[in-house]
Amino acid sequence: MDAAMESKMEIKRAKTNAGKRALLARAPKKVEKAGKTTLFLHGQNSSQILKELLSDLASMKTLEARKMTRKNPGVRPFEGGGETSLEFFARKADASAYVLGTHQKKRPHCVTLGRFFEYRLFDQIEVLVTDFKSMRAFKGAGKGAVAGSKPCICFLGEEFDSDDGLKLFKNVLSDVFRGRVVDRINLKGIDRAIVCTSVPQPGRKPSVMFRQYAIKYKKSGTRLPLIALEEMGPSFDFTVGRHREAPPDLKREAYQKARVTKKQKNVSMDNVEGKVGRLYVEKQVGLEKLGQHKMKGLKRERRTNAEEKKKKSKSGEKE
């Protein structure tokens, strides 16, 4: 920035405390614990299937979902300049991932999953949906599952380790749907699971079965409950379409981790003794009851006499 530019710029402060708090809430964090806020939107054209699918997926994200209902003709994230309005929406909604539904002749019922880094498109993958069944079709099978609970996510199949597209899909899907980073979990609260199974297709790209199940605990006669799965939807199959990984330099920046050092308490360095620790010792009680050696000077008679003497000498001085 040159001097002329500097003179034109000024520092602006948040005017209200509420504004300040809002800005702080949006500020980048050293350790990101919150789940990824996800934008759900449709492109130029959408289909009924996509509308239902997106609303189902949004309900799986509950509070971390930002749903948009109108058509967005300008959103074409795989084309040059087609990401501008998407990035704008991301900034507005403070979103870090998106799910876009587009329906074209060339790519029918296409869902694009993508992520943002600093409100800039990071990586994305297209999946072409077939055989969709919505949550509603399963008639309240997922009633037991609590909205916003953390799902178990399960990937079955060798292709999730070998196919580039599916590898990316695995990472994006788990990132979007895993929710908050927590350090403890209620064992009773593990109530749903997303299971993705790859199906090899000879001569073609593998397809994937996406299913969501409600987990029911049953008695097994041991300490460990026996689980039963009940399909709760949404359920669909897909093949991977176009996908784009993040550029390596951006990736490096995005995968940075803050160095978290725990503050060491009650430890100090001493010149003579080296490392010195301070321990907490509980207050010792019952010492007075111990049989101690009684000295003459500690006797009450002598003590009171001594005090009186002191008092007298003091008053004498004053007079």
Binding site: A27, F117, Q256
Partner: protein, 348 residues
């Protein structure tokens, strides 16, 4: 990713009872993720004679049973809401949503100077002894030592002049305001320096860098109300239709479009009309001559009143009261000459 840990003695049998998946799995318990890469749905479905869906579901159940078993084996604590397992740190890497914020704040000018000169921060006690009240008080803040707000009567100096020396209380207020302002400016300078060195990221999240004077053209209070209306009307007229077909905007009805004078021309062929017009003019002139010293009383009275008020205003502003003079002046104007003039004007 961790594999099955050596759990309690009872768990292995429980694993068998619950038909948990015993094969190799990639687990990330911190994020509740599991991956089974040695599974071929087609092969399993063909072998067991089930559908693809059924085979996948069966395997999914077994894998999830294993995940649950691992979770139950983790150290846990229970409270009123149930048993909570303590999850390990997630092992799968995911990109951040926002860039890592800078770990160290850039040095201020003073800090840089102090570092260069080796000046170290001295620790000062929070409280100091106030000799006036003979007690310990805060150095800064509420109930502080030498708080200017506590002074009820400010001592005067010999050099003070009544009416010329600034009131000590307002002076204190002004100085405080100036100090704050100066400090704010210094803070801004330090921040701008930090931005120059390390980019916008160096700013704390509650601050923004904005272009100055953005608001100055309109709405900063620099334009008067009249000018605003003028600008607004100009803008309203600056369309292809000269403002005729503007879409209605709330508040726009207050803007009056200034219309240019319209010239009107009489018909060249209509002789009757021109004849009438010239006759009118002649009649007017004749009337004037007839009227001679006649006065339109109402008009004259109004004129007199106006003159009176005008003179009154003038006197008020100059601070002199000259009632008599006004009377004389206005009296003169009621005379025949002026009266005649007024009368003639009214008929125009």
């Amino acid at each position: 990713m961790s594999t099955a840990t050596d759990a309690r003695a009872s768990v292995p049998s429980a694993l068998e009872v619950t038909r948990a998946h015993a094969g190799a799995l990639e687990l990330d318990l911190g994020s509740l993720l599991a991956e089974d890469v040695v599974f071929d749905v087609r092969a399993v479905a063909a072998a067991t004679g089930t559908t693809l869906d059924g085979a996948a579901r069966e395997r999914g159940r077994d894998v999830l049973q294993r995940v649950i078993a691992e979770l139950f084996a983790l150290p846990s604590e229970s409270d009123g809401n149930g048993r909570f397992a303590q999850l390990p740190e997630p092992t799968t890497g995911f990109p951040r949503a926002r860039a890592l914020p800078p770990s160290e704040t850039p040095l201020t000018k003073w800090e840089a100077f102090a570092k260069e000169k080796g000046i170290k921060k001295r620790k000062r006690s929070k409280e100091t002894f106030d000799e006036q009240s003979e007690e310990w008080k805060r150095r800064y803040g509420y109930k502080r030592v030498n708080d200017a707000n506590d002074v009820i009567i400010a001592p005067a100096k010999m050099t003070d002049v009544v009416g010329k020396t600034e009131d000590p209380f307002t002076r204190e207020e002004r100085e405080k305001r100036e100090r704050t302002q100066k400090n704010r400016e210094k803070q801004d300078k330090n921040l701008m320096r930090a931005v120059q060195e390390k980019g916008v990221k160096a700013l704390p999240p509650t601050l923004r860098l904005a272009v100055t004077g953005q608001k100055d053209s309109v709405g900063s209070g620099k334009l008067g109300k009249r000018e605003m209306v003028h600008v607004a009307s100009r803008v309203a007229q600056s369309t292809a239709s000269m403002g005729k077909f503007n879409a209605p905007v709330a508040g726009d009805e207050k803007i009056k479009l200034k219309k240019g004078a319209r010239r009107q021309f009489d018909d060249n062929l209509d002789t009757e009309k021109t004849r009438k017009k010239s006759q009118e003019i002649v009649e007017k002139l004749l009337l004037k001559e007839k009227a001679g010293g006649m006065v339109d009383v109402n008009m004259a009275a109004r004129k007199i009143q106006q003159e009176k008020e005008k003179a009154n205003r003038k006197n008020k502003s100059s601070g002199k009261s000259t009632e008599k003079k006004i009377g004389g002046k206005t009296g003169g104007k009621t005379g025949g000459k002026t009266g005649g003039k007024v009368g003639s004007k009214s008929k125009k």
